[in-house]
């Protein structure tokens, strides 16, 4: 079984991702796709007069500040436009895709954070009333029953809190939790860069392979922005039993198979 996460940044070729998925599914591969939608969420939020805001944690991780209105816009885009757009593409290619958010059937559950710590202009603050959290449990029965019935699951945040609230969770880490829960051999994380770059944004400086033992040091030295969370997700997946994580490029043809052939950054 293969778990593929495709991000939501500008430049991602979703047609190419779906072409590749269709080829793999027709060849008998069981696939679960998890997707993002950040760029489109930003655009819709701007259009609706509620511009996106991002916060930075004390360790330098950036994430979306999710108030209730932001969460509603997030759901419109992730669960609506993005999820159904991918399902439509897959159906056009003969794949019986079925789109679900992490809330549906309690697919992804975890705690909502009561407070978050952020750094603004060098000052650390506590923010409350945000709708963020992490995935702690995955409804594997639901996913495997879909797979055994011939469906290809297409999954997206938000997840569900214990109190039944929608919570914004990081898609890369949700994909890692899903790969672990399903005992997947490989997790592929696709985005709009070729992989981990030694000197961002120089794409010729791609680091082709990272040993798990070196991951923390390499992340500290070379990962910037959202790549830091991808490497955190990779670390979580690998330490919990996934054999390899490949960070690949979703901007051109055959992105999944190219990643499996070794193009990108393979972490094991």
């Amino acid at each position: 079984m293969l778990i593929v996460k495709v991000g939501g940044s500008l430049g991602i070729d979703y047609d190419a991702v779906c072409d590749d998925m269709a080829a793999l599914v027709k060849a008998g591969e069981q696939l679960v796709l998890i997707h993002g939608g950040s760029a489109q969420t930003n655009a819709v939020a701007e259009a609706l007069g509620h511009p996106p805001q991002f916060v930075t944690s004390p360790s330098g991780y950036t994430s979306r500040l999710t108030d209730r209105r932001t969460l509603e816009i997030f759901q419109m885009v992730y669960c609506g436009q993005m999820n159904k757009g991918i399902v439509e593409r897959l159906q056009q290619r003969g794949v019986n895709a079925l789109g679900l958010s992490g809330m549906d059937g309690r697919l992804w559950q975890g705690p909502r954070k009561q407070a978050i710590k952020v750094v603004e202009n060098g000052r650390t603050r506590i923010l409350r009333d945000t709708y963020t959290g992490i995935v702690e449990t995955v409804n594997t029965n639901l996913i495997t029953s879909l797979l055994t019935s011939g469906y290809t699951p297409v999954l997206t945040p938000p997840a569900l809190s214990a109190a039944g609230e929608a919570i914004n969770v990081d898609g890369d880490r949700a994909a890692a939790a899903t790969a672990v829960a399903l005992h997947a051999d490989t997790l592929i994380i696709l985005s709009n860069v070729p992989g981990v770059l030694q000197t961002f944004p120089d794409e010729a400086s791609l680091i082709p392979a990272i040993q798990l033992n070196d991951l923390e040091t390499m992340a500290e030295a070379y990962a910037h922005g959202r790549m830091r969370i991808k490497l955190l997700a990779a670390s979580e997946a690998l330490h919990a039993g996934v054999r390899r994580v490949i960070i690949g490029d979703a901007r051109s043809q055959r992105p999944i198979r190219r990643a499996l052939e070794g193009q990108g950054t393979t972490i094991a």
Binding site: G36, S38, V55, S57, P58, S59, Y61, S63, R64, T66, F74, K113, Q114, A115, I116, K117, V118, R123, T124, R125, I126, L127, R128, T130, T132, G133, I134, P157, I167, N168, V169, D170, G171, R173, I229, L232
Partner: protein
């Protein structure tokens, strides 16, 4: 500058006038993290132990 008393060790903290609600300050005496819960009047409480925000 305004002086407040640390709720943990009773030490004195000097706070600048532009301090923000929710801001975390560290007690110079005992090192505990304190959260500014109000600026008028200026009040502080022990800061909650919270994880970093790693949402999307």
């Amino acid at each position: 500058m305004t002086t407040v008393i640390c709720v943990e060790c009773d030490g004195e903290l000097e706070m600048t006038d532009d301090v923000l609600v929710g801001e975390i300050v560290e007690c110079p005496d005992c090192g505990v993290e304190l959260e500014v819960t109000s600026v008028s009047p200026l009040t502080i409480e022990l800061a909650p132990e919270v994880e970093e925000d790693w949402g999307e």
